[in-house]
């Protein structure tokens, strides 16, 4: 197990997000957490099965859990930042207990609340989100130290029958684009993408 303190290379959130999106061929649902997680998901290209949060900080994983339970035959992926996840750590234990067949969790850890001015999060000071996830019961939680590891972990996660969490230490690049700002449109488009609204 790689510990986060040993990771020296910083990866690109946009690059990792593009590597994720390029693998999605089966209408997988993706939930983007607020801020840059979302912005890079948007910039990686439009998909009808993407859901973009415009608030409710910390709820990307819970929303994805609800989706995974409702649609057990569809893969669901959630992308969350370190600041957001720190706000809702209890959800890791909930997901571990429910253990949905089809849920993959991605954490983009830059150690800062980037959008609000770069204030440092607890991960900058040593909190290890992979260790926290494992301690919460998500045994398949791992740091991706480089892009090759990220891709390998992702391929394993997307074929698994229980939740996997993959975290990466990322650089300070801002999100590439901003999402649409109309929540009703985002929700409606997403549901049409999932086939739950016609």
């Amino acid at each position: 197990m790689t510990v986060h303190a040993a990771i020296t290379t910083r990866l690109s959130r946009f690059d990792l997000t593009c590597r994720l999106v390029s693998r999605l061929k089966n209408g997988e649902a993706v939930v983007g957490g607020i801020g840059n997680s979302n912005f890079d998901l948007w910039a990686a290209g439009p998909r009808p099965q993407n859901f973009y949060m415009l608030g409710s900080m910390g709820l990307a994983f819970p929303i994805a859990l609800g989706l995974a339970l409702a649609q057990p035959t569809r893969r669901v992926i959630a992308i969350e930042g370190d600041g957001s996840l720190l706000m809702q750590l209890g959800c890791l234990a909930t997901i571990a207990e429910r253990a949905p067949l089809n849920l993959t969790l991605l954490v983009m850890d830059n150690g800062t609340y980037q959008i609000t001015g770069g204030q440092k999060t607890a991960t900058h000071h040593g909190a290890d989100l992979v260790a926290i996830a494992r301690g919460s019961g998500l045994a398949d939680s791992n740091w991706a130290a480089n892009t090759e590891e990220f891709e390998n972990l992702l391929d394993t996660a997307l074929a698994a029958d229980h939740p996997h969490l993959i975290a990466a230490k990322i650089d300070g690049a801002p999100g590439r684009e901003t999402t649409d700002r109309d929540p009703a449109w985002i929700r409606d488009s997403f549901m049409r993408g999932l086939g739950t609204r016609e």
């Binding site: 859990l65 609800g66 959800c91």
Partner: protein, 171 residues
Amino acid sequence: MPHWYETVIEVFKRNEIRLVTYVPDKVLAPLIKAIEADDYFTSFIPAREEEALGIVCGGWMGGMRGIVLMQTSGFATLANVLASLAVPYQIPLLMMISERGTLGEFNLGQAMVCRTMRPLLSSLGIETHTLSRRDELDFTVDRTISQALATHAPAALILSPLLTHAKRQEA
């Protein structure tokens, strides 16, 4: 006459409410026990009410109807996620709130937080009904749920001690 929670379960089933997330509460306990014992429902306990709300919102978008059960004090933690997720995204989030803090409360904190509940629901424009009478229970729960689903709007059902006959608390 059925118990209040038996009526609630019947109405949930009539409206295909299958996903139930909750933070435990003594008054809700008989409802929770009956739901947990019934295979129709997928029910479980997230760590906090915000999480419970997120799960039910995600479930509904995925095609599975649900409801969040909580106590008054738990509802008070939800202002931001109601205002930034359920309401603007037009998600028919259903909430059933066991009302503490009134009609014989001994805990000042509960009494104070209870006073924030209806003003918050009102200021967000969330359809709210207080359940206090057995003879109106089926109608009110059923129609509140069906309206929420039809109009894509959140709704709150408040379980009054008048209905649940919460035990008299001694100071």
